[in-house]
């Protein structure tokens, strides 16, 4: 052993700065004779050495300081976390460090399955808890996998959730360090957690137990049996037995959820005898550390092991704890995403479509004023309801993209951390792409029909029996007339035809190559991991598709409200109608809200002689390519109508409802940041250069200015005379 690796049993309280609280606690428990699985701690010195010898210490700030942390949206933090994780994964440990770690591992450890866990010095004090914020790996086999896991545990110091939580606590990640615990995996028959004071009911001890490993419990995928006991006598006061279905067990090189046998389904994993033993262990730990303890345990072949013991945070019921829960919710397991996908695909979207269809069937013109007023408020209520469901179900589903990306990067180690998007982009199920495809087809019809174009330009209406008219009617039936997004009171198909005429004047644009074949991804997984790989890919693709499609579903409902309001406005054009007066738009419509004009602060400073303007703006590269063209700044819906082919779309946030304009664009610049926002997704579909996360883009750039969009480096250059 050396100062880079220390045997767990040799650790004491004074080692915390070197080994972190978790490892130090395990050392003290082992020293006091409590049953702790054998292992070593790779100290923070190893982490420091890794950062220094690989140059990561210099590279990390380059990623972190691209934009002020406070100004980053959660989607940008995702990206940042993903880039940093990829950097760690692709930066192998220096040989010297590998040799030191290898030398410290006993043959028993290296020849058995292992658990690799974080132990950061700043973790787990009585006032803050990092529980669950850093990564751990269970069932790791052999040195190469162990070293990979160590890098990933180090990287988790820089995950989005850890970064956010550190910011909340005022800790600088650059000044934080991470130790790593390497322990033999005890493949428990049952496992759980125990609190010597039950949070919220401190007169009791609470023990939770699940069959198998306690990963399922910690991730929230397996509901535990729960016992409340008297702390002194151990008398059981309350019991809760859930429906038991699965257990988390070691599979291949990891863990997975497996169905329980009928016997285990019917039996509580926690016997009274085990509860009594656990109570004794809790007492010992409390005495040892002098504070109430939160303990993780496992039972293997009749022997209890303590996997971890930490103080119960005093802030358990404060805002800080609920904040941490929120940060933890940034991570979703495959199991929970599968449930979410079913809910969205089988319940939410069909019900939204049914509502939109039902409302579309109402002939608003035939309603009397009172009924129209009632229809407007009904439509508002329906929209409010679905927006709430959208926030609950659809937004979290976006984590599926992230899960797939992480699995992809961990397995394939690409240099580009976003290479995984090639497996998601090009999805034929993306409604926005289907809509745009139909528009391309209609534009193609117009390209060969100069007469029709001339007539449309003059505002004429073509014969309804022409193929173009039929296609147009079919389009509007399926995707709406775009008037909602194009703004104003355009009726019928004016908004669509104006756009089509413009599209026809430009060369046709096809969307990019189709989705990359999944076989390339699946080939990287062993036979026993095929099912997992397929499921993760399916969730990634569903998440990518739904992220866009669910917005269009909301858009359809918004349009129904918009139509009813427009009808009311029409009726009130010439006369006052008291019933309708209170039904004016309240600005609550989501799509409209996104396009609310930003107060115009021109790109000038001061008055008179000094003039200040942006020359080059930095964002994130979100779609590779180089685009040059005049800017078209979208401040309000009406601005979309004047969009000309080849212009660079500059906007605050692209909504999937307005992405029909994208095939006309020469590039996209967006204020909102992230690789996974709608603007970036649609840009990728068309292979357009795209830069996102440009602060104040719509204020610093003016329509007509020549822009160069560098989608490789994330730069926007503004050329002015």
């Amino acid at each position: 052993m050396n100062s880079l690796c220390i045997d767990l049993a040799a650790l004491s309280a004074s080692d915390v700065p070197l080994v972190g609280g978790k490892a130090s606690a395990l050392g003290r428990l082992a020293g006091a004779g409590l049953p702790v699985p054998r292992g070593i701690c790779i100290t923070t010195l190893a982490y420091e050495q890794y950062l220094d010898t690989t140059g990561l210490r210099q590279r990390l700030p380059l990623l972190l300081e691209r934009k002020p942390f406070q100004e980053m949206r959660w989607e940008e933090l995702w990206d940042l976390g993903l880039r940093i994780r990829s950097l760690f994964l692709n930066t192998p440990l220096p040989e010297k460090l590998t040799a030191e770690i290898s030398a410290a591992l006993s043959s028993h450890l290296i020849n058995n399955p292992l658990t690799i866990r974080s132990s950061a010095p700043a973790e787990d004090s009585t006032t803050s808890s990092f529980a669950g914020l850093h990564d751990s790996f269970v069932n790791v086999h052999g040195l190469p996998a162990l070293l990979d896991s160590v890098c990933l545990v180090w990287a988790s110091l820089w995950s989005d959730r850890a970064l956010l939580y550190r910011q909340e606590l005022g800790l600088d990640p650059a000044c934080s360090a991470m130790a790593v615990i390497v322990q033999e995996l005890i493949s428990g028959d049952c496992s759980g957690v125990a609190f010597s004071r039950c949070p919220g009911r401190e007169e009791f001890v609470v023990i939770e137990a699940v069959w198998g490993l306690n990963q399922g419990l910690v991730d929230g995928d397996v509901e535990p049996d729960r016992l409340l006991l008297e702390p002194i006598t151990g008398i059981i006061r309350e019991q809760y037995h859930p429906e038991r279905r699965h257990a988390c067990r070691p599979i291949g090189n990891g863990v997975g959820l497996l169905p329980l046998s009928a016997t285990q389904q019917a039996t509580s994993p926690l016997t009274e005898a085990t509860a009594t033993q656990l109570l004794a262990l809790l007492h010992q730990a409390e005495n040892l550390f002098g504070s109430p303890q939160d303990m993780e345990w496992t039972l293997s072949q009749g022997t209890l092991f303590v996997l971890q013991s930490r103080p119960i945070t005093t802030s358990s019921h404060t805002t800080e704890e609920s904040e941490r829960s929120w940060y933890l919710s940034l991570h979703r397991s495959l199991a929970s995403l599968k449930v979410l996908r079913r809910t969205i695909e089988e319940e939410v979207l069909p019900a939204m479509a049914a509502d939109a269809k039902r409302l579309a069937a109402v002939d608003l013109a035939t309603l009397d004023n009172q009924t129209l007023a009632a229809a407007i408020s009904e439509r508002q209520q329906i929209l409010d309801h679905w927006e709430e469901r959208y926030r609950e179900a659809c937004i979290p589903m976006a984590h599926g993209i992230r899960l797939f990306g992480q699995v992809y990067n961990d397995t394939l180690r690409p240099n580009d951390p976003f290479a995984f998007l090639d497996f998601l982009a090009g999805d034929a199920g993306l409604l926005a792409v289907q809509r745009n495809q139909k528009m391309q087809e209609m534009a193609e019809m117009l390209r060969h029909d100069a007469e029709m174009v001339a007539m449309l330009r003059e505002g004429g209406t073509p014969d309804p029996s022409t193929p173009f008219s039929l296609a147009l009617a079919d389009f509007i039936d399926r995707f709406g007339d775009l008037s909602l997004v194009m703004g104003g009171m355009r009726t019928g198909n004016r908004a669509v035809t104006e756009l089509l005429v413009e599209m026809a004047s430009a060369p046709p644009r096809t969307n990019r190559r189709p989705q990359v074949d999944e076989a390339m991804f699946l080939a990287e997984f062993s036979l026993d991991k095929q099912e997992f790989a397929q499921e993760v890919l399916a969730i990634g693709r569903a998440s990518y598709r739904l992220r866009d499609n669910d917005n269009l579903a909301i858009g359809r409902l918004t349009q129904r409200l918009h139509e009813a309001r427009n009808e009311a406005i029409r009726r009130q054009a010439d006369l006052e109608i008291p019933e309708l007066a209170s039904q004016q738009a309240t600005g609550k419509e989501r799509v409209a809200q996104r396009l609310t004009p930003t107060p115009s602060v021109p790109g000038f400073y001061g008055s008179g002689k000094t003039r200040l303007q942006a020359r080059q703006l930095v964002g994130q590269p979100a779609g590779p390519g180089l685009g040059v063209g005049p800017a078209r700044v979208i401040n309000q819906p009406a601005d979309l109508a004047s969009f000309k082919a080849g212009e660079i779309l500059v906007c605050d946030a692209v909504d999937p409802n307005m992405t029909f304009i994208v095939p006309l664009a020469g590039g996209i610049v967006e204020r909102r940041g992230g690789m996974l926002i709608h603007g970036a997704i649609i840009a990728r579909e068309y292979g357009l250069p795209c830069v996102t996360g440009v602060p104040d883009a719509t204020r610093l750039i003016r329509s007509g200015e020549m822009l160069t969009v560098d989608g490789y480096l994330g730069l926007v250059v503004i050329a002015r005379p």
């Binding site: 002020p68 400073y605 000094t610 200040l612 020359r615």
Partner: protein, 150 residues
């Protein structure tokens, strides 16, 4: 971060705090860069530097008064890529005398009092640069452009 109003104090602070700037003059077939001690007025319209008349830069300036200067806050560490601020100034340099010289000297010496003997030498010329444009670079690649009319 890009809000113009926030960039002005950054530029003013840079000009106030940096004692030295790289001065590029026109040497005919190529540009010629020298390090000079500078003082910039608070309104950012003028910059002063001094140079002996026997220097190449002086000779260059007599042929072509157009200059470019670089002021920056680098510390020659990796963190500079994100933290250092740099300003490229474009303008026209003119050797000054009379009342303009006295005013310029006061501004120059209030920033560089230790150069009093140097500028007092009859062989030393004091130049005033009329600044037309400033390109301010922050965060490695964020560029704002200041236009200054005379």
């Amino acid at each position: 971060m890009n809000i113009p109003a926030e960039q002005l104090p950054v530029l003013q602070e840079l000009c106030r705090s940096q004692p030295l700037a790289a001065l590029a003059t026109d040497a005919g077939s190529h540009p010629y860069v020298s390090l000079v001690a500078v003082a910039v007025t608070d309104d950012l319209h003028h910059l002063y530097f001094a140079t002996p008349r026997a220097t190449r830069k002086w000779a260059n300036l007599t042929r072509n008064p157009r200059v470019s200067l670089l002021l920056d806050s680098r510390t020659n560490q990796v963190s500079d890529f994100r933290r250092a601020v740099a300003a490229t100034l474009l303008g026209s340099a003119q050797e000054i005398d009379g009342a303009a010289h006295d005013e310029g000297l006061m501004i120059y010496l209030s920033k560089h009092p230790h150069l009093a003997d140097f500028v007092a030498s009859p062989t030393c010329a004091l130049f005033q640069v009329q600044i037309d444009r400033i390109y301010l670079v922050t965060r490695f690649q964020n560029v704002m452009e200041f236009h200054l009319a005379p």
